[in-house]
Symmetry: C2
C-alpha cells in the first residue's frame, strides 16, 4: 500500500464550519480562529465565502475577514466565490486563491444553487477566466459524491464527469465532498478510483463528512488509493443541514491523530490544534465533536 | 482484498456497556435490552459478569439476569467469569458459554485485577478445566492490545503471547481489546497479523474502543486482514474509565452501517438495532453515541 508520505489538511472550519451558525459570530473571533489554526501548523485555510448575505448571513463579513487577516508565510487563505460578482469582491480584498462549487447530483444542484449542473458549470467559466487573468488559483468542489439527500445513490461516473469539467476548466484541485456523510469505504475507494482515471490522484482531495460516523474509515480507504489532501474542520464544527443535530465535517484533530498513527506527515501540532478546538467551541457555545480532543482533555 | 462474507457481532452493551453506570439499573431493563438486541438479529450477547458485587456493583444481579433471560433459538447468552467461584455460580444459572479476561500489559493486569499476567493465566486454568468438564465454551479477552494507560505502547509480540496462552488453554476464540481506544489502522493490522501467526484468523475477534474516534477505521483495516468477529455496544454504551467523559465501546449501529456498506452480511436489522439504542439511552439517561442512530433520528 503506497500511502502518501505527507498529507495537506485543508481547514474548512471558518467557512463550512461556521456558515450555518444562526447567531452572528464576531469577525474578531473568526480572525482569531484563523490565526490559531495557522499557528497550529495548518497551511491552507478556507477563511470566508463571497456569497450574498441574503443566502448566508453568517458570511456577510467576508471583506472584513479577508482584509483583517494576519497573513503568515506559507499559509494560503482562500474564499468561496460562486460567481463573478463574488470573485471581483474577493479580488478587491487581495485574495490569492478562491474556490467554486458544483454538485454531482442534479436535484441537489437545483435545490442548493437553483440551477442545473450544466448551468452551474457554465456559470463558473467566466469565474475561472477572470481568476486566471488575475493570477488567482481556483479550487473546485464537487458535492454529493457518495450520495444525495434527494436522489440517493450517485454513480461514480457522474462524479467523474463534473470533476473532469472543473479540472479542464482550470481548477488546479478538485475536492470530492460526501456532503451528507453517507459513504462507506469501498464506495469511497470506487468513486476516487473512477475520478482518478481523468484527473491525477495528486490533484484530488477528500472532503468527507462524519454524519454516519464513517469519515475516518473512508479517509483511511482513500489514503490507500493515494489521496493526499484532506478537508476537515477543527472540533468537527459544522453540522449537517440535511439531518439537524447530526455531525457534519470530520474533526481535524481526529484526522491528524489518524495520520500521525499512520506515520504520515502533516506539519501540524496536534495539541495546539486541539486547544484551538476547545477554545472555539467554548467561544461559540458548541459541543466539541473531536473525540481526540475530548479524550485528551479528559485524561 | 478478501473481506469476509459474513461478520458476527458480539454485543457487549449489557455487560461492558453498563458495568460502570453509577446508579443501579433495574434487572428488568437489562433483560429488555438483551431481548431487544436479540430481536434485532444479534446472535451473541454478553449478558452479565460473575464478579464480586464489591468490585462491580452494577453486575450484582448476574444470577437474576442469566436466569431471567428469554432464550431465543440461535442466540448465545454469555457471562464473564474471572475465577472458579464465578464460573460455578454461572453454571448454576445454566450458562452455555463464559469468558475470561487477561491483559497484554503487566501494569494494567496489576492495577485492574491485582496480579501479574502470568498469575492471571494460571488462575484461568482451573476455570478452563471446569468449563470443559461442564461442556461450556470459553471465550478469552485480551485487553490493552494497542496501548496501555500505564505503559503506553504494547508490543504486538506481547499480545500474541497472551493470546496464544489463552488459545492453547482452550479458549475457542480470543477477543483483542483496544481498551483505551488509542490504536490506529496500521498498528491494528500489524497486531492482528502478529497474533494470527499463532491463532487462525477465524478464531480472533476485534474489540475496539472509539475513545480517539479511530474504531471504525481500525475495524476496516482488520477486516482487510480477514477478521470476521467484532465486539460492539449499542449506542456506544460504556465510557472509558481512563478518560472520564470520553467514548468507550464502538457503537454497534455504526459497525453494522459500515458492514452493510461493504456488502458484508450480519443478519442484523439496522433500524431495529437503532431503535434499541434510542430506547436504552433514554431509559438510563445517557447520550446516544451512535452517529448512525443520531443521523437516522434527525432525518
Amino acid at each position: 500500500m503506497p500511502f502518501p508520505k505527507q498529507v495537506r489538511l485543508v481547514e474548512v472550519s471558518p467557512r463550512d464550519g461556521l456558515q450555518n451558525e444562526p447567531s452572528p459570530i464576531a469577525t474578531a473571533t473568526k480572525l482569531e480562529l484563523i490565526d490559531r489554526l495557522a499557528a497550529a501548523g495548518i497551511t491552507y485555510i478556507e477563511a470566508a465565502s463571497f456569497v450574498s448575505p441574503k443566502w448566508v448571513p453568517q458570511m456577510a463579513d467576508h471583506r472584513e475577514v479577508m482584509t483583517g487577516l494576519t497573513r503568515r508565510p506559507g499559509v494560503t487563505y482562500t474564499a468561496l466565490t460562486p460567481n463573478l460578482k463574488g470573485l471581483e469582491a474577493a479580488l478587491e480584498c487581495g485574495v490569492e486563491e478562491v474556490a467554486v462549487f458544483g454538485a454531482a447530483s442534479e436535484a441537489f444542484s437545483q435545490k442548493n444553487i437553483n440551477c442545473s449542473v450544466a448551468e452551474s458549470l457554465a456559470r463558473f467559466e467566466p469565474v475561472l477566466e477572470r481568476a486566471k487573468q488575475a493570477k488567482v488559483r481556483v479550487r473546485g468542489y464537487v458535492s454529493c459524491v457518495l450520495g444525495c439527500p434527494y436522489e440517493g445513490e450517485i454513480a461514480p461516473a457522474k462524479v467523474a464527469d463534473v470533476s473532469k469539467a472543473l479540472y479542464e476548466m482550470g481548477c488546479y484541485e478538485v475536492s470530492l465532498g460526501d456532503t451528507i456523510g453517507v459513504g462507506t469505504p469501498l464506495a469511497a475507494k470506487r468513486m476516487v478510483e473512477t475520478v482518478s482515471r481523468d484527473i491525477p490522484m495528486g490533484k484530488l482531495a477528500a472532503h468527507f463528512h462524519d454524519t454516519y460516523g464513517q469519515a475516518l474509515a473512508n479517509l483511511y480507504a482513500v489514503l490507500e488509493e493515494g489521496i493526499s489532501v484532506i478537508d476537515s474542520s477543527v472540533a468537527g464544527l459544522g453540522g449537517c443541514p440535511y439531518a439537524k443535530g447530526a455531525s457534519g465535517n470530520v474533526a481535524s484533530e481526529d484526522v491528524v491523530y489518524l495520520l500521525n498513527g499512520l506515520g504520515i506527515e502533516t506539519g501540524i501540532d496536534l495539541n495546539k490544534l486541539a486547544d484551538t478546538g476547545t477554545w472555539i467551541t467554548q467561544a461559540i457555545g458548541r459541543p466539541n465533536r473531536s473525540k481526540v480532543s475530548v479524550a485528551l482533555a479528559a485524561k
